[in-house]
Each structure stands twice: as structure tokens, then as C-alpha cells.
Subunit: 376 residues, 3 copies
């Protein structure tokens, strides 16, 4: 659009800076100090090996965004260099960092995926940081692994564990993307197929679930539960074949998913495909999650693409923060800056009214999540 | 590019606002009043079910664009709210709405796909609205279904029907995307295969064509006809598997398609792939069709991507309007605004001359369509 | 971002205009005069047939960029029309054109793929143009075809040829994208499989290599060599199935590729997927290569997307120029303009410091290439 810079933009800018967020998919943050290489590796999502000696996670969009937006929270100048940032960070206790960054995110509700929580705050510890209400999201594959370890009928054990854990949870999550991806049959298996597959898996030791029958079983049990079902989609680490994490491969599953809300998380580089699905199915939602942090200054262009085919009542906010509390803060900051600039340009071009812009920001910031997760 | 705002832009802006368009792929508009839920559903392309109670098609990019650009045509202020828009719309007879919106589109020639025309103006009624010349585009799958219902040899019946209907038509259209998609063998079947498949289909009742042999037969008959052959590509409703509507799956077919112009319609989110094909094959063309309306203010970014790999003599305009005449108008308005802003920025950055910008707009607006459909 | 135009941008702008480049993937340029149709076809990458009579390669983004940026090098006004450009070009000897355009590129080192060199300057001739140092990149499939023509054991002949040629080369290149694409098994074949496949190929005449076993063999030999291994990725001519040239299909290969640098070239429209791979693997790099020239003014948006998931120490510059020396020059000019504008906007928005912007430009312009190809 024509850049028609407008003083009228200030109400929108003020609104987006202050609006409370619901972070509908996030993990715990560190509470104990870490070394620099672990910190830098935590700023690389895709690589599963230690970073190469010639490389630095500070020389990425995420690293630049940390230096631009997190440095001031530590009392440093914007764009402080990597060594200065690291030195200053080391001088502050990790729990104090967590406290400061979480508070800075201005998040009213954190929906925490407890399926992978190694080395990070658990629900109680997270709540203790006083940065907002805490809700649980139960990971299906973890429930399955618990059911494999339990005695008796697998399906019964799974159901029992799922219903018990989900009673106090607001939703469930699947990492099918990391367990073979979305390609192939995702229909509901028969009871006999489940019993056979469970027996084979238990015989084989019952660790990391990759059996397709049991993965499908878990998804369909989650559909019956009726609480929002989150899927990791797209961008993640290289254990996942990115092309099998394209949400279009979920089409047949979505066609039988009924009314249970299905949340497509992260989505890069398939955010346009995800937006299409959110238009195509009444029960499909999407967010930009993890991708926003990793894109840094480029998150703005990505957020623009999220505002394409998806109805505005179907888009949510999340940070997917895990580990460094910088991520819990930065997700919020980059989302606010990005959507603020995108929508301001829509308003400056007189394609949207400012009131509509503010309303859409509220929908994505918290209203949609409050409705779909029934947080009131 | 650097935003170097330029007063010199006015000639281009005036030109793009007034240039007559050829809408090379469009359907009929409503002539009779509809209820609000039907109207809102007509603003959602992908969903095949009624919209959820919590949702509104007004809260989408298309809905916002209707309120921004169509409201003034009804005598309302820009950004009038949804209820006000609906109330005002109800106070005006549907045929008057059609007349007003179609005239506002400034389209000289409408190329109308008559394959699906339930509840909308037919060719004669459309022509009667006095908003431009009307031409027919014949849908191959409809011809096939007529041939199945006819007596005698299927291939002969198909040929007879196709040649008869195509005599007065300017092109043909395939919705293969909705009948199994582009993946797989698209070579020409033998006469024996066609006869066998037709017999099976007729025995099974001969309704909705999904048989691959007969779909392939239709395509190759269309190639021999030599008139432009349109393909629905990408974005559509969820009956189509979007990933099988990626035009790259047409590669082998295009390699044997000879000189018959092949028009890739809509293309989202595969517009860059379609642009590549338009560079790779002398007979391949593309447009943004349907996608422009659904992207609203984001159509500008999409139109920018259409201007990448495709030669400028291979890009066309269409609205794909169907039902609400708002769509026939809005396609034109959003395309004019979008391409005007995109090209103006090229000119402001001194990467294109203004004269070239105007010339490219003319090519896409009408010159390419006039040449390839032989409209003179 | 908000366009906050800043006078402070001048240091960055001056830097990007003058920084010397390493063109890490390029071919020879013409030294002898050509006719206009050959010239125009050389401005179309994807089409393998003569351009249609109604078309002109000047009416493309590349054609417009030639007229905008190359015309002044010939002493013409910016945006000189196609006929004027052609007439002027014909008045200057081709070797003088080469000299002038290559010098204008401000490239310190040219890494030349000698695998396809029909009608263009060889290494010695290129060096003789005095426009920078020249290094060789050996094409694996050419080595294979030489090995097929040699006598004795195929694997021994291949190894001998590869090690001999690679001794003075800085890297190797694979055009697997054009020889069946990336889909399918890319593991290392056994010695017996190689011997069988080589025997079959030699019996069949031993020309153009398409045998998957031997293609895989060549890749794994290249991995052992340890010098950077370049892959043609994405956009190219239509002999390649573009969807099988998506770098995500290389995932299994990359998982076993060890420390050997793997360079993903061109990448359009898969540059975001390529950037993900560069984050996921310590040994994966990418560039925009060929795509930059073909996108013309739209290269800026593409260069922005290259600056997403890929760490900044993993992005390189190349032109992929072949034939008209305009391409060797224009790649440089469009890259400088594009990255300059992209990074300037990051700086103007205060998301990057200007010093960081200059540093990232240096990394991509030459520092990364110098490190990975060990050019010192």
C-alpha cells in the first residue's frame, strides 16, 4: 500500500502495546543458570546438534531480536553486542530473569504444554513467578507412553489417563509431526488394531511412540474429548520431515474432526495453507507461534501472511517459549510490533478502519483464545 | 524498495483507475434476493458447510474489503458496519445491485463459465444488465456429463457436444482440481479405454464425473480444439485437496499441450509456481482470479508475487465472481488498487519507467486477453 | 515496518554499493556476437524452446532490469527501449561488452562451474577479461560421463578423475535436480551396485547420466572429498520437475552428509525451506543465485525471505550468470540494491543497528564464501 503515514495511528499503537495476551501454546522457562553454548543452542530450533564452532546463534534474526528487545530489559542499550549481553545475563539470577521477562510479556494466561518439561519450570513454579494465570495442555503422546507403562488394557489405560489429566487441562497437544508426520491414513483404528499395536509396542519396550495405529487412536480419543486439539505444524527441529508437517496432509482428518477445535501451531512455511484450512473448516484455528520469534524483524511479513485467508475469529497468539525466558517475552514483543505495523498500514491506506484494526488485534490477542478454550 | 513518493505517479494512478478490463473468468451474479446466512456463506469460498454461529464472513479480509469498497456504492460510508451494510443491501432490489456493481467494475468483456450456474444470471440475463459484452466458456466436465446422458458412442457424443458448444464459445474450462486433482497420469487414453470407462460410468448412473480416463479424454479433446483451456488451480473449496491442485503436477501434461493456450486460474498459494510455468511454456498463462477478492487488502502483496517469473504478456485479469455482484465489482477494484500501488512503487524506485508501468497494466487488464481469446 | 526514512542510512548505502563480492556460482560469458533471438532466449531460464512470436524476453522483470541497469553501462538512458538497447548492444564487440559488464560487477572472485560451457568463455578466457580471480567448480555429472567413456573400473576411473580435477578446484556441483530430482533414496550404493549400473550404462552408450545408482555414487564420493558440494535447487529450466527440486527432499541425504559444506543454489520458490535447512544443519548454506536476476525489481522481496531462518553466516552471493555478460553484472547490481534496501529498512525501524547491517552484508558478500571455500 501507499505509505500514507498518519498521526491518527496513535490509538492503535497504544492499544497494541498494552493489550493483555493469552499465550495459548507455551512451555516452561529456565529457573537455573545455563552455560553459553546451551543458551545459544536454545536460540536454534531446527538443529539437533551443537552449533558449529564458526557459527553463533546471535548472528540470526532471533539473535538480533534478542539484542534489540531483550537487552533493554537487562539494563543494556538496544543492540548491545553478544558478549555484553551474555556477560550481563550471567550477572542476574535465572529466576529473576524469568520473573522480569515474563512480566514484560504482559500475558494474562499461559497455556502450558507439559509434555516436554526437561530442565524448565513446571506448572507450579511457573505460576509462582506471578506473571499470569497458568493452565495445562496435555500432550497426547506422553499420555500414550504412560498408558504403555501402565498395566491392563492399553485403550482403557489411555482413556483413563487422558480423561483424568484433561479434567483440569484446557486442551491437548499432538506432536504427530515428530512421529512420522501427517502423510497417510489418519482414520480411527479398530479396537482390535489398537490392542495388537499396543501389545507389539509394549513387547518392544514401550518407549517413544511412533506406531501409527496408536498415534491415530490418540488423535481420535482427543476428538471425543472435545477440548481444543493442538498440532505442531511446520517449522520445528530436523527430526521432523518438514514436508510431512504441511497441514494440507491433515485434510482427511479435518474432514472427520467434527466440532472439536483444531489448533494449527507455528505453521511456517505453510502459514498460507493453514489459513486456507481455517477458512475451510469451522473448527480449525491457527497461530504463528514459534515462527514469530525465529523471524525477528521478518516476523512482520509473516504476520501479514497470517492475515490472509483465515477468518479473524480463527487466529490466535502464542510464543511457544521454551527455556530462555527471553522467548516468552520476545514472542509478545515481536507480535505486538509486527501486527501493529501491519494493521497500521492497512489503516493508513484507509482499507481498514482504525476501530476494526483494534478489534482484530483484540480477537487475536485474547478474545478468540478466551472463547475457544473457555477460559472464563 | 525505498518509498520515494512521487507526484509523477498521477498519470499511472489515473490510468489504472479507468482502464477497461476483460474479466476472462467469471460466473453469473444473483438476480434474486437472498438471506443473510446465504450471503455470508457466499463470502467464504473454502467452507462447504454453513458458517459456525460464532463466526461471521464480515470478519475476514473479504468482508472488510466489501465494507470498504462496496459500501460507498450503496450510498454508505466507507467501513460501514456489517449490520448497516446488510440492512442497506436488503433495501435495494438484487437486480439493481447487480446493475450497479457490474457497471462499477468497468469491464468491457465478461468471459462466463456456464458450467455451474445454479441461482445466478445466465448468459442472456447477464448481457441484459448492460455492463459489457458477454462470452461463453464451456466447462469440460459438464460436457462429459451431457455425453454420458446422451445415447450412442460416448466419445462421439462428447466430441459432438464439445464442438457444437465451443463454436460460439471463446474457451473451455476444466475443474479437474475438484475431480481428483492433478497428480498422476494425464496422458491421452486410447479409444478402447475411453469406451470401457464410459460404459462403466453410464452403468453406474453417469452423474458427477470422477473417472480419470474420461477426465483425461476431455482434456486432450480440448487441446485439439485449440481454444484457451482454463484450469482451476489452487485455492477453492475443501472438496478439492489443495496440495493436488498445485500446478506443478500439470508439468507432464503441459509438456504435451502444444500450442493450445492453458490458463492457470486463481493459483493461491501456488502463484509463484504458476508464474514459473508461464515462463517455461509458450502456451501457459496465469491470473490471480478468486484469490484477489479473498485477500482484500493483502491482494496487493499477492499481485506483487504474480509479477515475478511470468512474462508480462502471459498474465491476465479475472474476478471469478459468483453470486453476490459485489464480487464482480470488488475483483476489479482490488486489482486496480493493488496493481496500481505495486507498479507505482516500482516506478517511484526508478526500477520501471512510468510508461512501461502503464503498458504492463494494459497488457494484464485487456491486451493479453484480447489476443489470446481472439476477442476482436 | 514503518518507513522511517533516515539520513543515517548513507554509510550502509555507500558500503553496499562498493563492497567486493565473491560470486560463488557462475558460468562463462559470451565472447562472440549472437543474434537477437538467441539473446532473448538467454533471458528466459525456464523455457527450452524458442520464445513464441508474440512474446519478448524484454517484457519480463529481467528484461526491465536489463533496460534499467545495463542500458547506462552501454551509454544509454535508463529504461531505454528494447530496440534501442539491442541496436546499441550490436554496435559494441561482445568481448568489450563482457569486459565492461564484468568489471562493473565489482567481483573479486568468480567460482566457475565448468560443467556446461558451450559457447562461453572458458576459465582462461574468463581470467583474461581481468575482472577478478577465477576458480573452478567441477560438475559431478560431467566427471561421471568422462568416467563412463574411460576404460577400466568405473568407480576407479570416477575417483581418479574427480580427485585429479578437484585438486585445483574449490568445490563440486551436482545437477541432480535435472537428472531425476531429489525424491527417493539418496544413500550410498554398494560397490557391486555401482559396477552393475556402470556396466549397464556403458553398454547403453554412456551418454547423459540419469542412472540413480551412479548419481548417488557421485554425491557420496563428493562428500568424502570434503570440498563444498553445490546443488542446483528449485528454479531452472523445464527439463527439471520443479517439485522434485524442493530441497526438503534432500533431508535424508543431509542427515548423513557430515561436515562437507552443502550449498543450496537459487532455491526459488523454496527459499524458505532452504533457509530452514541452513538452520537445521551446521554444514548447509544457501544463496538466491539465478533467482535474483529473474526477479528484477522483485528480487528485493526475495532477498528479504532469504534473511529469515538461515543463520547469517550461512548465506552467500551468486549470480549464476551464463551467456550474456549482462547477467554477471545484473546479479551484482540487483543484489546490492535489494539487500541494501531490505537492511536499510531494518535499520530505519531500529530493529538492527547499522553496524550489524554492514557486518551481515559483508558476511554474505564475501566473508562466508571466503571461509567455506578457503579462498585465502
Amino acid at each position: 500500500m501507499t505509505a500514507r503515514p498518519s498521526r491518527r495511528g496513535s490509538a492503535l499503537r497504544e492499544h497494541v502495546a498494552a493489550v493483555p495476551l493469552i499465550d495459548h501454546h507455551v512451555h516452561g522457562c529456565w529457573l537455573d543458570p545455563v552455560g553459553r553454548s546451551r543458551f545459544e543452542n536454545a536460540l536454534n530450533e531446527a538443529n539437533t546438534e551443537p552449533l558449529a564452532a564458526f557459527d553463533s546463534a546471535f548472528d540470526t534474526q532471533l539473535g538480533f531480536a534478542v539484542r534489540a528487545h531483550c537487552a533493554p530489559t537487562l539494563g543494556l542499550a538496544r543492540h548491545a553486542d553478544a558478549d555484553a549481553y551474555w556477560a550481563k545475563r550471567c550477572s542476574i539470577p535465572e529466576d529473576l530473569l524469568a520473573h522480569r521477562f515474563l512480566a514484560g510479556a504482559q500475558v494474562s494466561d499461559w497455556l502450558i504444554d507439559t509434555g516436554f518439561a526437561c530442565g524448565v519450570a513446571d506448572l507450579e513454579e511457573f505460576a509462582g513467578l506471578g506473571a499470569g494465570r497458568v493452565h495445562e495442555v496435555v500432550r497426547l503422546e506422553t499420555v500414550a507412553e504412560q498408558a504403555a507403562a501402565a498395566s491392563g488394557d492399553y485403550a482403557d489405560a489411555f482413556d483413563d489417563l487422558l480423561w483424568r489429566q484433561a479434567r483440569t487441562a484446557v486442551g491437548v497437544k499432538s506432536i504427530l509431526a515428530y512421529r512420522g508426520g501427517f502423510v497417510g491414513d489418519l482414520s480411527e483404528p479398530s479396537a482390535a488394531e489398537v490392542a495388537d499395536a499396543a501389545a507389539r509396542w509394549r513387547d518392544a519396550g514401550g518407549d517413544r511412540l511412533t506406531d501409527r495405529v496408536l498415534l491415530r487412536f490418540g488423535l481420535h480419543r482427543a476428538l471425543r474429548l472435545g477440548k481444543p486439539l493442538q498440532f505442531h505444524v511446520g517449522f520445528g527441529d530436523r527430526d521432523c520431515d518438514l514436508d510431512t508437517a504441511n497441514p494440507l496432509h491433515l485434510l482427511d482428518f479435518l474432514r472427520v474432526s467434527g466440532d472439536t477445535p483444531v489448533m494449527l501451531l507455528h505453521c511456517y512455511p505453510y502459514e498460507r495453507e493453514a489459513g486456507y484450512l481455517a477458512q475451510a473448516f469451522n473448527n480449525v484455528y491457527l497461530d504463528g507461534g514459534l515462527s514469530v520469534n525465529y523471524l525477528g524483524v521478518r516476523a512482520e511479513a509473516f504476520i501479514g501472511r497470517l492475515l490472509e485467508m483465515a477468518p479473524f475469529r480463527k487466529i490466535l497468539y502464542s510464543s511457544d517459549g521454551f527455556g530462555p525466558p527471553e522467548l516468552h517475552f520476545l514472542g509478545s514483543r515481536l507480535w505486538r510490533n509486527g501486527i501493529g505495523r501491519v494493521v497500521q498500514r492497512f489503516v493508513d491506506a484507509d482499507e481498514w478502519s482504525e476501530a476494526d484494526g483494534i478489534r482484530v488485534i483484540d480477537l487475536i490477542a485474547h478474545r478468540n483464545a478466551r472463547r475457544v478454550y473457555r477460559l472464563d
